[in-house]
Point group: C2
Chain length 208, copies 2
């Protein structure tokens, strides 16, 4: 699969690296493809990864992973032609003090992003776990749950499979509007992490 | 502990029954204390349980469990003197079609209830699991997590202990305003349940 990862921070870095190691063709989209930080990331990611300007990264990919901060999402996404592409929205619409969300209830970051990324097949995913959990989704021998939602079934299947390849148990949470509940779940995680749990915990759906 | 349970539906019924069996003094507050339904519930709950008019139930209790539907919460809670009592808010502010919440984002049912129940020490709890999970919180050998939140630490300790007695792993999710995230979590559960998982699943925080 050809995957563009927008963002070389902790989330984009670990996702791109792990998918590259699993054999996917990964292009990190970054304004500084020649920087030391990116060189170090590419060295870890191996031969299936490279870096390019965001426009080039996106144009060659079928799957685009949005792992940039929420406050630059609109500016970045409106620059690209994302029509027909699977757009994986990993953002959370955190406010400036990380104490709450910028929007919610009758909308969500995912729905706003779907409005900005014209024609993209948006799937909300990877927003309810830490970067540490993306590096290793196994907690006490059990895979953490990766909730995802979206309005395009085929796009959701692709994202569910990508989550499974990392070691998550993917759970389809329904249409894109379910992001109204997945983004608050991220706030619950952030609150637990800030209370001292750090990144050493994750959510799981357990069953009988 | 003296516990008044407002509501003899599935949630109030199972919570009151199990706490009565554990030896707590439980009074179900109901307008129909002599009904067949209530008699059957009391027979199951055993000698530590009785039924009374809501006013009498509340007046003798240190802990009041609000297990009535959201749409009658205001009318019911403003009838009682709840000052100083631990008020366990099990509600979710479901809309009329159960497809979403009536309020949220910068408020929550729990915060609204704290406004109506003057002086009560409100703890949000038991809103993110099914009644079936309250009857048996063990899923595949593991206890489900019971998230709770509130602004009164002593009240939270009491509720955490009551959850633990039922077999849950209690997790303090912070101040009462965290209900803004616990109520959306209930919507995520409801959506999964309606997609076919029924009541055979629950949330758990897993750790390293």
């Amino acid at each position: 699969m050809k995957i563009a990862v927008l963002g070389t921070g902790r989330v984009g870095g670990v996702l791109g690296k792990r998918w590259a190691r699993a054999g996917h063709e990964v292009v990190f989209g970054t304004r500084l493809p020649g920087s030391e930080k990116v060189a170090a990331l590419l060295a870890e990611a191996g031969p299936s990864a490279r870096a390019a300007a965001p426009r080039d990264a996106v144009s060659h990919a079928g799957v685009v992973v949005m792992a940039l901060p929420w406050n630059i999402a609109q500016e970045e996404l409106t620059k690209h032609d994302l029509a027909g592409k699977v757009l994986v929205d990993c953002t959370n619409p955190l406010n400036a003090t990380f104490t709450g969300l910028d929007l919610g209830f009758d909308t969500s970051a995912a729905e706003a992003i779907a409005g900005w990324a014209k024609g993209a097949r948006v799937v909300k995913a990877f927003n309810t776990v830490s970067a540490a959990a993306m590096a290793d989704p196994t907690f006490g021998g059990q895979p953490a749950t990766m909730f995802y939602c979206g309005d395009d079934d085929q796009a959701k299947q692709i994202v569910g499979k990508l989550a499974e390849e990392l070691g998550f148990e993917p759970i389809d949470a329904g249409p894109l509007s379910m992001a109204r509940y997945l983004e608050p779940l991220a706030m619950l995680y952030i609150h637990l992490a800030m209370k001292g749990w750090g990144s050493s915990c994750a959510f799981k759906v357990i069953r009988r």
